[in-house]
């Protein structure tokens, strides 16, 4: 959700999905979409070869969104 913060923090394995804050696994009542994100995230455990690299997963919100601290969408 926060690409620039992941780049800075450099966790051992990091997956980025272009989703609004509060939606790391996607939209509500979309179990297929949520599971697809989760499978790809967990797969990094096996496929990642070096720390600190942010992997951009092919899962997005599908429409533009913005972020204002403390404000609802």
């Amino acid at each position: 959700m926060m690409h620039d913060i992941l780049e800075l923090n450099r966790p051992p394995r990091a997956a980025f999905v272009d989703m609004p804050i509060g939606h790391p696994f996607g939209r509500p009542f979309d179990p297929a979409g949520q599971l697809a994100v989760l499978r790809d995230v967990l797969s990094l455990l096996a496929t990642a070869r070096e720390p600190g690299r942010v992997v951009d997963l092919p899962h997005g919100w599908g429409e533009p969104f913005t972020f204002t601290p403390g404000q609802r969408r």
């Binding site: 959700m1 926060m2 690409h3 620039d4 913060i5 800075l8 923090n9 450099r10 966790p11 051992p12 980025f16 272009d18 609004p20 804050i21 509060g22 939606h23 790391p24 696994f25 996607g26 939209r27 509500p28 009542f29 179990p31 949520q34 599971l35 989760l38 499978r39 995230v41 967990l42 797969s43 455990l45 096996a46 070096e50 720390p51 600190g52 997005g60 533009p64 969104f65 913005t66 972020f67 204002t68 601290p69 403390g70 404000q71 609802r72 969408r73």
Partner: protein, 165 residues
């Protein structure tokens, strides 16, 4: 769509809210442990920092700060027994379907399918809130992280899924 740049937004917000500089963490080195077994044999622990708690637990403060407390969430907890206490982000979708943020049921499903070896019996939820105490980063990365790592190891975790709030 280019990813939103959160750091400048949060820096400006902290300044305008009188919170001082937005605290940023930069590691001095890289932590890395190769996965020791196939993913299908791994037990995964879940840790989420989105201010989630069970309804029968002490809730996190909606606008809390420097909160190092941890809520233990049993792996079989029904979604209806979970609540999001934070008021820092829009969680109306997660209120309706907690799986968008706290994928405990999804992890159980993947374990049932054999994608994972299993899910650790206890998940952990935190609601740190804003960092106002200069000691918070050191405490989080030191004693809090070490305690959580110990708890996960004691449950037989092979890896941890960290989900931010």
């Amino acid at each position: 769509m280019a990813p939103i740049e959160y750091i400048p937004i949060m820096k400006a917000y902290y300044q305008s809210a009188g919170l001082g500089d937005y605290p940023l963490y930069e590691p001095s080195g890289d932590a890395w442990t190769p996965l020791a077994k196939p993913l299908a044999e791994c037990h995964i622990a879940l840790i989420c920092s989105a201010g989630i708690s069970c309804r029968d637990q002490k809730p996190f403060r909606p606008h809390g700060h420097d909160d190092y407390s941890v809520r233990e969430v049993p792996v079989g907890t029904p979604a209806a027994d979970l609540t999001i206490n934070y008021d820092y982000f829009d969680h109306r979708d997660a209120d309706a379907d907690v799986n968008v943020l706290f994928p405990l049921a999804l992890l159980r499903q993947l374990a049932g399918e054999g994608f994972l070896g299993g899910v650790c019996p206890t998940a952990y939820a935190m609601g740190i809130g804003r960092w106002r105490d200069p000691a918070t980063p050191e405490r989080l990365l030191g004693e809090v992280a070490e305690d959580l790592a110990r708890r996960c190891r004691e449950q037989g975790a092979d890896a941890v899924l960290l989900v931010p709030g």
